[in-house]
């Protein structure tokens, strides 16, 4: 493949963001083409069939399964009320009766003469989809949802947990190297998205959770702290569904890693504005990375950097694997031929100068471009 290196994550002060908001099953779209929506605007809704409950009528009334349909007082599709008698067994010339009450409100779905069971279904469960970001409806997906577009600043993180949330961005540190500790979390941050520097500690996450912070954005996080906070280990890189009250987004990786200057400066410039965030991460083809989106009040020029030429001498990079993990450097040479590295692998490499002045050789696959 032409580009073997990891393309940088998008960090830009102005871009066009398009979001598809779709229902899990067909339903009703509630907005019109061209409408302006807020993040909390419900754009589509539907109802999914209610929870079913099976009742073994044959057992309860002491019947053979094939006799069950004859004893039912309700037909398939009928509405039933909780406590309503739905089946009756008469015995001894009709003198004795045993009856069965419906355990739930709902409808009678299936009467089975084979198993002697019936299936009752509870009321349909409504599902609503909100807009998530403020913007304009640019496409209606018939009975499925909408496409919303907005002009916004965007920061993509490398890994996150927790789903979609909105809150006011609040800088909790002054420097991208600073660690976000518990003492920097204050009660007035309730409902906010708090930004830290190189690391967020476990006690800071726990305090943020108590205070009611909706999101944390920081450079890094220690693996065991994440496991402690979640209460379980994440085995597979697919997140976003965690049952937690705040979303956490890491911009750089696991461990203490200084937040990239560009990311930090951009977040700082957005301090006080409302952000839509999502920690959902999926690492495979069609990678999904966590995001911080801040809609812009006015349309401005789009600053999407396109790395058509890839790396060149002078490009700023971050090394993303041992032995220089997390270090920033500038490319000083790009030898074209394959070189053998310490592990014995033959790979395309680059020569880069670290911030300390040291010159190192690393595989091109192990660096990330930093958008300058």
């Amino acid at each position: 493949m032409a580009h073997a290196y990891t393309p940088g994550l998008k960090v830009t002060d102005s871009t066009i963001i398009t979001k598809r908001r779709r229902l899990p099953i067909l339903g009703e779209v509630l907005v019109n083409l061209g409408d302006t929506v807020r993040p909390e605007t419900i754009v589509a809704r539907t109802k999914i069939p209610g929870d079913p409950e099976t009742v073994n009528v044959a057992n309860k009334l002491g019947l053979e399964p094939e006799d069950v349909p004859d004893c039912m007082l309700k037909k398939e599709g009928d509405t039933v009320k909780k406590g309503e008698i739905i089946a009756e067994k008469k015995s001894f010339f009709g003198l004795f009766k045993s009856t069965l009450e419906s355990p739930i409100d709902g409808t009678l779905d299936i009467i089975s003469p084979i198993t002697g069971q019936i299936t009752l279904r509870g009321p349909a469960i409504p599902i609503e989809i909100d807009a998530y970001i403020p913007g304009k409806v640019i496409e209606i997906l018939d009975r499925e949802g909408v496409v919303i577009q907005t002009h916004a600043a965007l920061v993509q993180g490398i890994f996150g947990v927790g789903g979609e949330r909105q809150g006011v961005l609040r800088m909790a540190v002054d420097d991208p190297n600073e660690v976000l500790t518990a003492d920097k979390i204050t009660p007035d941050m309730k409902g906010c998205v708090v930004v830290g520097g190189s690391l967020v500690t476990l006690d800071a996450i726990q305090k943020a959770d108590q205070v009611g912070v909706v999101g944390i954005v920081a450079g890094g996080l220690i693996d065991r702290d994440l496991v402690t906070f979640l209460g379980y280990d994440i085995g597979v890189a697919i997140t976003g569904q965690e049952d937690i009250n705040l979303t956490i987004i890491m911009t750089e990786g696991f461990g203490q890693i200084r937040m990239a200057d560009k990311t930090f400066k951009l977040l700082k410039s957005l301090d006080g504005k409302v952000a839509s965030i999502n920690g959902a991460t999926q690492i495979r083809a069609g990678v999904m990375r966590p995001e911080v989106i801040v809609a812009l009040e006015e349309e401005s020029e789009v600053h999407d950097t396109v790395f058509s030429g890839g790396m060149e001498v002078g490009t700023l990079i971050r090394i993303i694997r041992e032995p220089y993990f997390g270090k920033l450097a500038t490319i000083v040479a790009l030898p074209p031929e394959l070189q053998q590295i310490e592990s014995g692998t033959k790979a395309r490499v680059l020569v880069a100068k670290l911030e300390t002045g040291e010159t190192v050789t690393v595989p091109r696959a192990n660096v990330e471009l930093i958008e300058g």
């Binding site: 099953i25 079913p52 220690i222 990786g253 690492i283 495979r284 083809a285 993303i320 694997r321």
Partner: protein, 614 residues
């Protein structure tokens, strides 16, 4: 299946649309045999922003065009490849494809009894190339509402329902059908479509199943996969799974409608195609075979023992996407046991997490490579354990025993996997196919699978088994030519005596007559590993196990065989089996690991020494 005139086939392109990359190979007839000519790859384009698989296919084929300086792609993007070939420079005679993109084929299975019909259904689904998300059974220990909840939660591509032998239970089959009807499951792809369900159970229950599920789902009825207890008939169910995969799953996936028109044979699920190649190899070589494909997200294991093919997929054991799960399932201790130096477990965890979130990076230091290969050993071991549990004989059947078996405590449903009977291992996947030294792949597979007796070790050089698998459905000779000549890399043959002794005690002596007539004799003590170099060809070998050790003919009995060489030669693995010898105390463990790595020249020892000292 499409019929072709094999005489007219001279050049073939086959693609495999994987979850990350789409790989294209060009095969052509050269001097009467089919050979691999070139290989191209490009990122898969199933997901946003492209959402059209054919873009990736065209890009991969374009790379082939550039490599060989010819034209394969039609100028019309809708038409795809130029078939048949127009002249020497334009087009190919055949185009085929497999696919595992977009998460592959995800299924749910259901049966009456967990380790009988539900297990048969699971084998049918796995064999067809699916990932089995869950197996529901009447006796699986869950309450009906829990099962319903589970069915609702998962959104499979299809459900395979079995249950009851012909003429057996109807009520339990009906119960399963009612559970599914109550859950009203929705398919993963194609909003507004009915979920495909294949019923392969008791034929007497068909009408009832139709009544319950017919109007709510896209129901297909096939032959019972367990018509009698003693027989499993998986073919019809597998065939219907492939049909539905094409009709429903593929038709809903972005761009596949177009791709389906381009190919000369139906698109196969990637693992289903690999399974075909493994089955054919076992038949041709007349031996038991284990194949493994370790990917970023999953590890597939295929086996043929006693002429029975089995496949399992460990959905959450892989080297990038699910690498953290390998750590969780194996435990830090099991990973560390293969590493000959100290490493802080916290540091190890952060490193593994960073590999997960940046999966395209490669180990730069030897330390990182050793860690990655330790993880691979454990992922392979766990996937193999999983496979052994599912690759079993039929349970619940009556066995006819003779007087000699009176004292044998064998029961039905035992694993078919027999490490002594295993004749060949085929490894594939980045960590095995692209190890900096081939011998590293040999040792990873020996440590993970612990084959016994005599076993050939091979790797698939560039993972083209999927393409060759689908090709074998139309042109088996072409597929076999390329598989034998260009795909399989012969790494050598392992000789592993079964038994236990004290470290340093006699274990085995091997006398090999090499192709040049030279005779080499090596005695390897218990707890050690050594090799007899044999890069190419075969050697006539006499193996003399010490008393108490077995290499296939019984304890202490000599075995004579003609063994195939490879880059690792003849590997004499005297580290014992049942149990495998690995000291538990750190100092001795590191001493032994270093000794083994040195004996086989696994790693550059001067560099390794730096980390061992540290």
């Amino acid at each position: 299946m499409a019929q072709i005139n094999k005489e007219k086939i001279n050049s073939i392109i086959a693609t495999d649309c994987g979850s990350t990359t789409t790989k294209a190979i060009l095969i052509e007839k050269v001097d009467g045999v089919f050979r691999l000519i070139a290989r191209g790859e490009a990122p898969t384009t199933v997901e946003a922003p492209f959402e059209d698989v054919t873009i990736g296919v065209r890009n991969a084929v374009r790379e082939l065009e550039e490599l060989v300086g010819r034209k394969f792609l039609s100028g019309d993007e809708e038409r795809g490849l130029i078939t048949p070939r127009i002249d020497e420079k334009t087009g190919v005679d055949l185009y085929l494809s497999t696919s595992s993109a977009g998460g592959g084929l995800q299924m749910m299975v259901a049966g009456v009894v967990k380790n009988m019909t539900a297990e048969s259904a699971e084998r049918a689904a796995l064999g067809a190339g699916a990932i089995v998300m869950d197996a529901i059974a009447i006796n699986d220990g869950r309450m009906p509402h829990q099962k319903i909840q589970r069915i609702r939660q998962l959104r499979p591509d299809m459900i395979l329902v079995s249950g009851g032998i012909d003429g057996g239970t109807i009520s339990h089959v009906a119960e399963i059908a009612e559970l599914i009807a109550a859950a009203e499951p929705r398919p993963r792809l194609g909003i507004g479509y009915n979920l495909p369900i294949i019923y392969a159970g008791n034929k007497d229950a068909r009408n009832y199943v139709k009544d319950i599920l017919g109007h709510k789902t896209d129901l297909r009825i096939v032959e019972n996969l367990r018509p009698v207890l003693e027989r499993e008939v998986l073919g019809p169910a597998r065939h219907e799974i492939h049909n539905l995969f094409m009709e429903h799953v593929m038709a809903q996936a972005p761009g596949y409608n177009k791709l389906m028109k381009w190919t000369d044979a139906p698109i196969m699920p990637t693992p289903g195609a690999v399974g075909l190649i493994i089955e054919n190899t076992a038949k041709q070589e007349n031996m038991s075979v284990v194949g493994v494909d370790i990917g970023g997200a999953t590890t597939d294991v295929f086996s043929v023992f006693k002429e029975t093919f089995n496949r399992t997929v460990s959905a959450n054991l892989g080297m990038s996407y699910s690498i953290c799960n390998v750590l969780t399932e194996a435990g830090v201790e099991n990973i560390l046991r293969w590493i000959p130096f100290d490493i802080d477990p916290f540091d190890l965890r952060n490193r593994i997490r960073n590999k997960m979130i940046r999966p395209t990076t490669i180990p730069q230091t030897l330390e990182d490579l050793v860690i990655e290969q330790a993880l691979a050993r454990e992922a392979l071991r766990l996937a193999f354990e999983h496979h052994k549990r599912l690759a079993v004989g039929l349970r619940g059947i009556q066995q006819v025993r003779d007087i000699s078996q009176t004292f044998e405590q064998t029961s039905t449903g035992e694993t078919l996997v027999d490490a002594m009977e295993l004749g060949m291992i085929i490894g594939s996947g980045g960590v095995l196919s692209h190890a900096p030294r081939r011998i590293q792949s040999v040792l990873m597979m020996l440590d993970a699978f612990q084959p016994e007796g005599i076993t050939r070790i091979t790797v698939d050089s560039i993972f083209m088994a999927p393409q060759l698998g689908v090709l074998s459905t139309l042109h088996p000779e072409a597929a076999n030519d390329v598989f034998q000549r260009d795909c399989l890399i012969r790494l050598g043959t392992a000789i592993a005596p079964v038994g236990e002794a004290k470290e340093g005690d006699p274990c085995v002596t091997v006398i090999a007559t090499l192709p040049n007539g030279q005779v080499v004799e090596k005695s390897v003590p218990y707890g050690s590993i050594d090799t007899i170099p044999l890069a190419e060809g075969h050697a006539d070998v006499v193996i003399r196990p010490a008393r108490g050790f077995d290499v296939g003919a019984g304890r202490g009995h000599e075995v004579k065989a003609q063994l195939e060489g490879g880059v690792g030669g003849l590997i004499i693995d005297a580290r014992g089996r049942q149990p495998f010898f690995l000291p538990s105390d750190t100092e001795n463990r590191i001493r032994k690991l270093v000794e083994w790595y040195k004996a086989l020249d696994v790693y550059p020892m001067d560099v390794l020494a730096k980390y061992v000292k540290k």
